[in-house]
Each structure stands twice: as C-alpha cells, then as structure tokens.
C-alpha cells in the first residue's frame, strides 16, 4: 500500500526531476541540474524504502468503517499558514524595493511558513482521526518549531539588550545593569521563598520582563549608540605627526606628548603607551623578534631557524605578524623603518615623510604584536641611507628607539 508519506516523497521526487529538466533547458551551467537531479534520485530512493516498509505504519492495513475515512470527513479548518505564507511574499516585495536584509528575512519566513503549511495539510489527511492527525503534526513539526522559535526569541532579547547597553554611557551601563541584576535576583528570591505562588505569575513576570527589554531595546536602537571614543594608537600618533606637523610640535612644546615621531621615541606617549603590561601574542607559526639583554635584536621564524643569516625576509604585499619580545631591563618598543614616501598635505604641497610602524612601549618580559604589509621591495631604497640603520645603510630596518645597537635588516623581494 502506498501511504500518505510515500505519496509525499514520490511527489517531491517527480517535482525535483521536472525542476532538473526545466533548469537544464532554461539556465546556463550544470550545477543546478546536478543538484536537482541528485535530490530527485535521493527522494526516489526514500520513496522506494518508504513504500516497501509501509511508512512504518502498522495501522495502514487495518480495516476502517466507511464513515470514518478521511474523504468522508468535513474539510479541515483553515489555518494561519496560507496567510503567513502570503505575508512572507509581501515582505520579500517590500525588501526588493528597500534593502536586501528584508528580502532575506522574507525568504526565510516564506520557507518556514511554506513548510508549516505543507506539514499541516499532510497531517490533516493522515487519518480519519483528528486527534491522531494533531499528534502526527506535533511529532513532525515540534522538533523544528521549538528550537527555531526559541532561538529567534532569545536572539531578539539579546539584540535588544545590546542596543540598551550601547545606548548608555560606559559608566551608566555598569550602574544600570548592576541595578537590573539586583532586581532580577530580588524577584528570584521572592519566588524561591513563596512555593505557593501561581505558575502564571512567574510566567507573566518573565514575559513582562522580556517585553520590557524588547521595548527598551527598540527605543534605544532608534535613538542610536553612544559616542565611542577612538583609542589612540602608535599608528594614530605617527599619522598625526605627519599630517599636522605644526600642531603636533605645539602639543609637544606644551608637554601634551613627547616630541618627534612615536616610532623613533623611547618615551611614553599618552594613551597609546599606557598599560604597557597588556600584551598580545600569537600561539603558533609566527615570526618573533627578540630584544636581548645585551641590546641586540635576534629573530626566530616558522620552521628551521635561518641559521647564519643576519637578515629577516618578508614577502612583499603580504601581511606578516611579528611578535616582539622585550627581554631587556627597560620598557621598549620595536619599530620598523621602510624608507620614505611622498605625502600630500591639506594645502596641496607634497612632502617626503618616513614610512614607519611600531609597537607600543612594552615592559621587560612582555610581548607585543606588530603586523606589517610592506608594499615595496626593500631594494628600492638600497641607495637611500636609512637614518635608523647602522652606518646609514639603505633598505628596510627594524630598530629599537633608545638602543642604538638593536638593529635588524628586513629584506623584501
């Protein structure tokens, strides 16, 4: 006997086969046809197995009175799924003229409501017993509905939470959510000490809390995030010195920061060099440069050490991560001098400026990461004396400000 489930699989297999043919005739490329044909074969296999095993339904052969067969029953009541399916179509239409995200949401809704519609229709005709049909529907759809629905609900609450947190200032966020945590703890304490409290009260409180979070999140999201200050880095200080040299010099005279480029300075710069104990390091397969106690630079590379070589080689235009380890007794930074480049000022004049990168000032025993992407080969500057190289040699050089003996040539082919 061909059961309802088998019919569903047979129909799906036929649909996939027809779609494969249509796709192959009307579209370029073979991957769509291959995918649909594969689906047709798989569905056919499932249909055969399902038919042979009678859909695992031991009742399908049982004789039933004529008046209880499905065809003799009144039509099933209309569900919400056709409406939801149509609404999903509207969402897609709206998305097509507004933004792509709404189209994606509409497609997801279309798939979900379509699946629900198919399952409901199938379950309504599974047998003559409405209660059995409802049970069949639940058995099939609940494992999908509960986790997906739960994930969406939790996602909405979390997103709303994040909007609220980003709306408050940093300090107020801590204060507000500390108070909120105390409120939640207090309510939980009350519930725990009143075992006789009605379950509806607990559920109602949870729902009210979730609704409050979503409403607050919506309001905060519409109002926008707080202003987030840009953290000063060595790169920002270096750029500031190049882009606005006069203001930078004035700031140095007023004592706001040390004079000169940060990458050539052994002194501590505000904010960028604070908290020097904070270190960042990679766990494997990275280049390492060490500032040794004797004031020299040594290096290690992935794989066998380039024994004997006194230069380090990086690939051109390739991002290379270097861990700088300060094994000296003082706070130090690692800097890289990659020659010079033309810089066009705001007034239209062009100046030659150094191309330098550096780590923050780090304390003895600490490590810091420097990421470098050299766009030019080092031999471009072979004949241009590098002020940070020993004896004014050309090329690219690593150096440590304040330690003249700590230099290492970088070769970029």
């Amino acid at each position: 006997m061909i059961t309802t489930g088998s019919k569903f699989l047979i129909g799906s297999a036929v649909l996939a086969a027809v779609a494969a043919i249509l796709y192959g005739v009307t579209q370029d490329g073979v991957m769509g046809t291959v995918g649909l044909a594969t689906a047709a074969v798989a569905l056919t296999l499932l249909a055969v197995v399902n038919t042979m095993t009678r859909d695992s339904n031991v009742f399908t052969d049982d004789g039933v009175p004529l008046e209880t067969v499905a065809a003799a029953q009144p039509s099933p009541l209309g569900g919400i799924w056709p409406f939801a399916f149509a609404a999903s179509g509207v969402i897609i239409a709206v998305g097509l003229v507004t933004q792509q995200t709404i189209v994606v949401i509409g497609l997801a809704a279309l798939a979900a409501t379509g699946a629900e519609w198919i399952i409901s229709n199938w379950a309504d005709r599974a047998s003559a017993d409405r209660r059995h049909n409802a049970s069949v529907r639940s058995r099939l759809s609940n494992p999908l509905e509960f986790p997906l629905g739960g994930a969406v609900a939790i996602g909405v609450v979390i997103f709303a939470f994040s909007r609220v947190m980003l709306w408050f200032s940093k300090v107020n966020t801590v204060i507000a959510f500390s108070i909120l945590a105390l409120v939640v703890l207090g309510i939980a304490f009350v519930f725990a000490n009143r075992p006789s409290i009605k379950p509806g009260a607990i559920g109602g409180t949870a729902v009210a809390g979730a609704v409050a979070v979503v409403v607050a999140g919506t309001a905060a999201g519409l109002d926008g995030e707080r202003d987030i200050a840009v953290f000063e880095t060595t790169s920002l200080w270096q750029q500031e010195a190049i882009a606005h040299p006069e203001e930078y010099a004035e700031g140095a005279e007023e004592g706001k920061h040390p004079a000169g480029f940060i990458c050539e300075s052994a002194e501590e710069f505000p904010e960028a060099d604070e908290k020097a104990s904070q270190t960042v390091a990679m766990k494997s397969n990275h280049f390492q440069i060490f500032l040794l106690e004797d004031g020299t630079l040594d290096f290690d590379v992935p794989g066998p050490r380039d024994e004997g070589s006194d230069v380090i080689t990086f690939q051109r235009s390739n991002t290379t991560n270097i861990v700088f380890r300060n094994e000296s007794d003082e706070d130090r930074r690692l800097s890289l001098d990659m020659g010079t480049e033309d810089f066009e000022s705001e007034d239209g004049t062009t100046r030659i400026v150094p191309v330098q990168q550096c780590t923050t000032l780090i304390e003895p025993g600490a490590a810091q990461l420097l990421t470098v992407t050299p766009p030019l080969p080092s031999n471009v500057f072979a004949d241009s004396p590098n002020p940070n190289a020993p004896s004014g040699e050309g090329g690219f050089w690593f150096f440590v400000p304040g330690v003249s003996s700590a230099t290492l040539e970088l070769v970029v082919p």
Binding site: R54, G303, E307, V411
Partner: protein
Amino acid sequence: MTFVPKWTRPAAIVGVAALAAGCATDAPQDTTQPAGPNAQMIYDLSWPIFLIAGIVGVIVMVAIAYAIWKFRDRGQPIPEQTHGNPKLEITLTIIPALILIGVAIPTVATVMALDETDDTECIVNVTGQQWWWEMDYPVQDGCGGVSAPIVTSGQMVIPTETPVLIRGTSRDVIHSFWIPRLNGKRDMVPGRTHNLRMEADEPGIYAGQCAEFCGLSHANMRMEVVAMEPDDFEAWKATQLSEYESPAEGTLAATGEQTFITNCSRCHVIDGLTDSDGEPVISRADQQVYAGVAPNLSWFMTRNTFAGATWDLLNATCRDDVWDADPADFGERYLEGVSEECLNQVDLREWLRNSPEKKPMYADPEQLEPTDGLFRGMPYLALSEAQIDELVAYLLERK
C-alpha cells in the same frame, strides 16, 4: 542449463565501465602513485583504511538491501514488535569502537609524523592569491645557501631527497596547496603561516592544484613542483640570482623592454630593470591588483608554465621531452628553459592579446567597486600585434 537473469549482462557492463573510469594513463595528480616519503606515509595509511571502510560499507549496504527486499511489504500481517536487545546492541557498539581505535592509532601517528618540520633543510615561502601561486626562497643557509631572495611563480623548484619546509600563506582569500604525489593538502590562510613538508625521491615534475574554492578561476589555479638533483638545483639558483642584462640595442627585444616598462611594469617585477635614465623601474602592484603583487617575471623563460600554471610555455613536443625525460637527464632538459623553437606561441600571444577572455578574472574596470578599483587578475591591456611581437621577443630573453 543454468538460468542467468536478463539484468546481469547490462549490470556487468555498467560495473566494468565504472571500474574502467578510474583508470588513466596520464594522471599526474594521482595520490596512489606517491613520489616522496610524505605522500608514501599517507598512501601506506590510506589503503588499509580504505579496505576496512570498504568491507564495512559493503556489509552494511548488503544487510540493508537484504532486509528491505526480504521483508518488503506484500500485504502480510505485521510481525510481533520487539524492543531492545542488550547483547546485540553492546556487540554492535563494541565492534565499531574497536575498528575505530584500530584506525585511529596509525592515523594519529601519521599525522604527527607529517607535522614534523625540525628536520627540514630548505625553506620555501608559498603564497596563494587569485589565481596563481608565488614561491619565494628567503635568505637562508638552507637550500644549499640562498644569499638573496629568489621569487618565482607557478613552478617550485626543489632539490631531490631533501626535506623542504613550505611556509604557506595567502594574500587575499583562503587557498589550499596540494601536490598529490608529494604530500597532502594544506590550507593557505591570509595573515597566518601554515607549514607543510615536501620531498621528492626522483627528478621530475609533480603537478598540483588549488584544493580550496577561491573564486572565479579556482579551477585554473595550478602549480607544479619541479624536483632536480642538488647539482642541477644549484645551477637553477645561480640563474635566478644572476644579474639582469638588457637586450642588445636595436633588437626587437630592446623595443620590447620599453614596451614592458610602459605596459607591464606597473604590476610585474623584473629584478634589475632600469628605465632610460638608469633609475630602477618600481612596480606598484599594490595600487593595481587586489593581492598587491603580480608574478615576478625576472626569469620567466626558465619556467615551463604561465598564468597560474594553467598553460604551458613549451609547445607539446618540447613539453613531452621534459616531462618524459629520464630522471638522469631531467635537470639538464629543464634548465634549458624555453627557446623560440619550443615556445608555445599560440597560448602566450592569446594571453597577451586578451587575458580576461582566456582566463575568467575580475578584470572589468567598471566592476571593481568591491575592491576599490583594484583588479583581481590581469586586465585587458589593448596591446597591438606589434607590441605583442616585441614583448614575446623580450620575454624570450628572460632565461
């Protein structure tokens, strides 16, 4: 007379055809023909595991097919339904567990052995970008000593019977480096360095292909490892490190040098190339292409392939001479490079004439918004036939 079902004959034909489809005389990327100790380790591990998995798979499929056919629905009464059989279930849990333990022990041992890099004697940086591979040899004492970086592409030259360490990374998206006859795959990830051992027993060319989908021309991102005797490798290094020599004045190649500077040097590097004022010609590929580099063409005609090793620089006859050379003569043949008689003029000229038409790339200037105007691949250069003649003449001297 024995009855033979009618369906057995066509089934036998289909079976034989399916088996025959697995046979090939020209299969340069065959993992069942290991040509080095690393690939041999993988092969020695894979065939017994394949055998065990095959036997288990056949047993399971036959059992399922037998059950489905034997107990198919014929309208018979439903048999008595039973639930649970602890002895059977425990047995069917223990047997697969023992099989998996048996497979895991040699697998873990092989993985750890392949991960070993301390014994390598030569470092080669391999960098993937859409859609070609760059190989560079950093300054090192390994590889018999490399005094200045060597940069090449498409073909990686290594000495035989020498464990080589590949330090792999990528400049744009994730690629995967795979030379099936020499070792397994290794992903090349931007911002990370992944290590891979490589060693070839005998001189020869070992083909490979990017094994991680990386965009439009992923299928055209190939590479080859060229293994040669250590003495031949030294000769290859000497060529790669030799000084640049401009073509003789008044020749077509000399005109080609200027054509190269005008049209190609924005992206391509030729070490030692200078302009008419004697100043070094500086490539700013980072301002032109997304990956920030284009293949270094310093010794272009010492290679046998171009455009991501998709096409041969040698014509079919000369290519066969190199690929089929006796191991003892291979190095000499390869080091001859590409002569005018051996050059695959058709493909090279088609490439210069309109590279995006020959190899799918993101090279339409009007569709570069996602990369801020940077090309992914080589753009159409609108070269005239005369300019192509000049460039071919110039490139022929790059060996």
